[in-house]
């Protein structure tokens, strides 16, 4: 088993690849009462079109999320129940590019881990149980459709992208999930829930050797083939510049999104993630000149914030919040990027922002979930997230300026708005 030390952040990681292709990582956390396990597959909301046994398949939007819900069913009943008996609160999420199952517990950790690995690797659905789930997920979809934050974000993605599957909601629609059958769920499980497409991460005071042995014992001996996926042929241009919708909200909300150039997997992927984050802070973070000016002018309030996101084949920077004049705020973001490119970034400000970004990355390591999710993302995209101090050292002001110049441009921007009904 390999052990890596990360002196600058005071962490270490054990890792081992099993013969079936499963990657196992253990991050020791002495002194913590809880232990956390995260079992993830590289399969998410965007993986609707893929090639299985030489044939391209189109599956309904929302299927990865649907499968996540159904995985908790076991022949004996329900895995939630089994884990909860031991005081573990298991849960799962489906993002664009992964599905993760997890629990934390202070007692019976190995027993719980065994349950987790079993229920995620052994599917058990019937036509009846699949049909019943449509009621539950249908309610979940209706609930998120009532959520203005979700609406504004989804509509922004629909405007940014014309062919990427990121356009579709991870949960799908009430209509799309009506096409899901037990058979399609079994197919998708077979294709993506194979050890070679998965990673198990344990964070806490656990014995790495025992974790590896347990995974070896519970999971299938052999891994499946790599499944090619189709994320569409996304052009550089945006799909549409503006979208607006009326909802029962107290004041208008907006998001401005910028379509950015994605990076290939590997260390470049992580570099771009860090550069994008720093660019976001410099352009419109809490201490940026733009933020302070807009706040003083009453054009934004504390709800304002931004972020840089990457998914397979795409990347985007977005910002927004409540505003009575979204158009002006969006234009000001654009202007500020132009100014930074033209005049360059102030050296003292750059140092200040990267210092803060370092602190915030370090703070993230307090969270077991955050550690597990970032190690998983790093594994799927071929980089090591615990090397962030070194990556920070390697990034220069010029990298950030180049990012702004290439991506924060008028022709790459979309504006998504939610407005209250006219009185």
């Amino acid at each position: 088993m390999k052990q890596s030390f990360y002196k600058r952040i005071g962490e270490s990681v054990y890792s081992q690849r099993l013969p079936n292709g499963l990657e196992v990582r253990v991050v020791p956390k002495p002194g913590y009462a809880k232990k956390y396990a995260f079992f993830a597959t590289r399969y998410g909301g965007m993986d609707t079109r893929f090639c299985l046994n030489g044939k391209w398949l189109d599956t309904p939007a929302g299927i990865a999320h649907y499968l996540e819900h159904k995985m908790f069913d076991t022949k004996e009943g329900n895995a939630l129940q089994e884990l909860a008996k031991n005081g573990a609160e298991p849960n799962a999420f489906t993002s664009n590019a992964m599905t993760g199952y997890y629990f934390d517990s202070t007692d019976h950790f190995e027993e719980n881990l065994e349950i987790l690995l079993s229920f995620v690797s052994i599917p058990y659905f019937t036509e009846e149980s699949v049909a019943k789930e449509q009621g539950i997920i249908g309610q979940e979809i209706r609930m998120i459709e009532d959520n203005p934050d979700w609406q504004i974000y989804t509509r922004m993605l629909e405007s940014l992208y014309s062919s990427s599957p990121a356009r579709a909601s991870i949960a799908g629609t009430v209509e799309s999930i009506s096409h899901i059958t037990a058979e399609t769920l079994y197919d998708c499980h077979k294709a993506f829930y194979t050890p070679s497409n998965m990673i198990l991460t344990v964070v806490g005071d656990a014995d790495p050797v025992r974790v590896v042995d347990l995974a070896r014992r519970i999971l299938p001996r052999e891994g499946g083939p790599i499944i090619p996926r189709d994320y569409g042929d996304e052009p550089e241009t945006i799909a549409q510049a503006e979208t607006s919708r009326t909802m029962e909200v107290s004041c208008p909300q907006f998001l401005a999104g910028f379509k950015c150039r994605p990076a290939e997997d590997g260390e470049d992927y992580m570099r771009l993630a860090v550069i994008g984050d720093i660019a976001c802070d410099i352009l419109l973070g809490d201490s940026s000149p733009l933020y302070l000016r807009l706040y003083d002018q009453g054009l934004i309030n504390t709800s304002f914030g931004g972020s840089f996101e990457m998914m397979p084949g795409i990347a985007y920077l977005y910002a927004g919040g409540d505003s009575k004049d979204a158009r002006t705020v969006a234009a000001e973001i654009q202007k500020e990027a132009d100014r930074l490119v033209r005049e360059g970034i102030d050296e003292a400000f750059y140092q200040q922002v990267t210092r803060a970004a370092f602190g915030s990355n370090l703070r993230g390591i307090n969270s077991f979930e955050n550690i597990a999710v970032s190690l998983t993302e790093g594994y799927f995209h071929g980089y090591d997230p615990f090397r962030f101090p070194e990556v920070f050292d390697s990034i220069t002001k010029e990298d950030v300026t180049a990012f702004l110049r290439d991506n924060i441009r008028g022709e790459r921007m979309v504006l998504s708005e939610i407005v209250p009904p006219q009185a």
């Binding site: 129940q81 008996k85 005081g87 201490s287």
Partner: protein, 422 residues
């Protein structure tokens, strides 16, 4: 490493939660003041205005730059409701000294900044800076109004307001819109002066520094804190039982309905109610989750919350409009099942483990620790998580049935769609 609570000055207490395992340290300063309809909005506005600037760092830009240079230290203002008290102040989080690349010490400068935010705000002509007051007042009103954006939170809050109308517990955390609208700069400044001199100040530290150093840093940072006659914290009064169930319906343009149900608890056997509530709807293994949600697909979510500091249980659920009666009946049927002891061994075992797990892992999160100990301090209680865990271990099934037998339906709130209303 032991938790200690010590009086530092008149009405000023420091709770030290020593720990070496975190990447960060936490420092919190919270004023505890009785929750009242007339002052809630003003107290909620205060930390927001104070957070805008101090004498040394007079605007958001200089404050943000200062925090950036302290390796991205964060100071967030907080407004919380603990029992019938309102707690307002700041929570600071900063990286532990052992990880600062240059070996800089951050505890002292962060404590100083905290002290300055509270004791030495930016002012003009003996009042808060008018622009800060105005924009934070607008933000507060927006925040109160924006509750409606999340229908789940909105429904939960409406239920509590209706159920506890006329009691401090029914006052929302941020106060109400009408009171916020009435706030004036002069009155707010007077409220500020009164709060910092007469409200109890609870300080919390979690991190690797030793207690002496923390005490020193805080004594020095708060040396300018004025202290007058310090008021008592409010002790929650029991919710008055209702003769007839109060039923409230509201219609909005939504696609999913929300059903909220409020119950009063006639027992003060806290540990038994903690267990009873966990069995009823407090975990993903509860009767509400497994039956109302999973088995009958009546709703997307259904859970219950035990308000330990007030002796209430509230149920929150999201349903289709036409499932109202079914969901309502089923929720009551599940409560009845807990009361009658229709429980499998694994349910009891699971509920116990859920609670014990929560108490055992509390020490793994600085935020949860601070929030727990603030709740204890603000309601005059002193049990540690370990003590509560021990009480839970000792609960017998009979005590659960008895305590849950005193749980009585008090208020029902239903948020339905506009079309359904027609």
């Amino acid at each position: 490493m032991e938790v200690t609570r010590k009086q530092l000055a008149d009405g000023v207490y420091l709770t030290c939660l020593p720990a070496r395992k975190f990447k960060t340290s936490l420092l919190s300063a919270q004023f505890v003041t009785p929750l009242r309809k007339e002052t809630a909005a003003g107290s909620a506005l205060l930390p927001a205005v104070l957070r805008r600037g101090t004498v040394t760092y007079p605007d958001m830009g200089s404050l943000a730059a200062r925090l950036d240079r302290l390796y991205g230290a964060r100071i967030d203002y907080t407004v919380r409701k603990k029992g019938e008290n309102q707690c307002v102040g700041f929570v600071a989080s900063f990286i532990d000294d052992s990880f600062t690349p240059g070996g800089e010490k951050l505890l002292e400068p962060v404590a100083d900044l905290l002290g300055e935010l509270i004791c030495d705000p930016a002012t003009r002509h003996g009042r808060f800076v008018p622009a800060y007051f105005d924009s934070e007042k607008t933000n507060l009103i927006d925040a109160i109004r924006s509750l409606i954006n999340d229908k789940r939170d909105y429904a939960d809050s409406r239920l509590l307001r209706e159920m506890c109308a006329g009691e401090p517990y029914g006052v929302p955390r941020l106060g109400d819109e009408a009171e916020a609208e009435r706030l004036q700069p002069k009155k707010l400044y007077a409220l500020y002066k009164e709060l910092i001199s007469t409200a109890r100040l609870e300080l919390f530290y979690s991190g690797s520094a030793d207690r002496k150093r923390v005490e020193q840093a805080l004594l020095s940072a708060f040396s300018a804190l004025p202290r007058d006659v310090v008021r008592d914290i409010a002790i929650s009064r029991d919710h008055a039982a209702r003769q007839e169930v109060l039923r409230i319906e509201e219609a909005m343009d939504v696609t999913q309905g929300k059903l909220g149900m409020g119950f009063s608890c006639g027992s003060d056997d806290t540990a038994a109610l903690l267990m009873g509530n966990t069995l009823f709807g407090g975990s993903s293994n509860s009767k509400l989750f497994l039956n109302v949600r999973e088995k009958l697909s009546l709703c997307y979510y259904a859970s219950s919350l035990y308000h330990r500091q007030k002796g209430l249980i509230t149920v929150s659920s999201g349903i289709e409009f036409d499932k109202f009666q079914q969901a309502y009946d089923e929720i009551l049927a599940q409560l009845e099942a807990v009361r009658k002891g229709e429980l499998e061994d694994w349910e009891l075992e699971g509920a116990k483990s859920t609670l014990l797990n929560a108490y055992a892992s509390m020490g793994d999160s600085q935020g949860k620790l601070e929030n727990f100990y603030l709740g204890q301090a603000a309601t005059g209680q002193s049990e540690t998580p370990e003590m509560l865990a021990q009480q839970v271990r000792e609960v017998t099934p009979e005590r659960i049935f008895e305590a849950m037998g005193t749980v009585t339906l008090d208020t029902v709130y239903f948020l339905k769609g506009k079309e359904a209303a027609e």
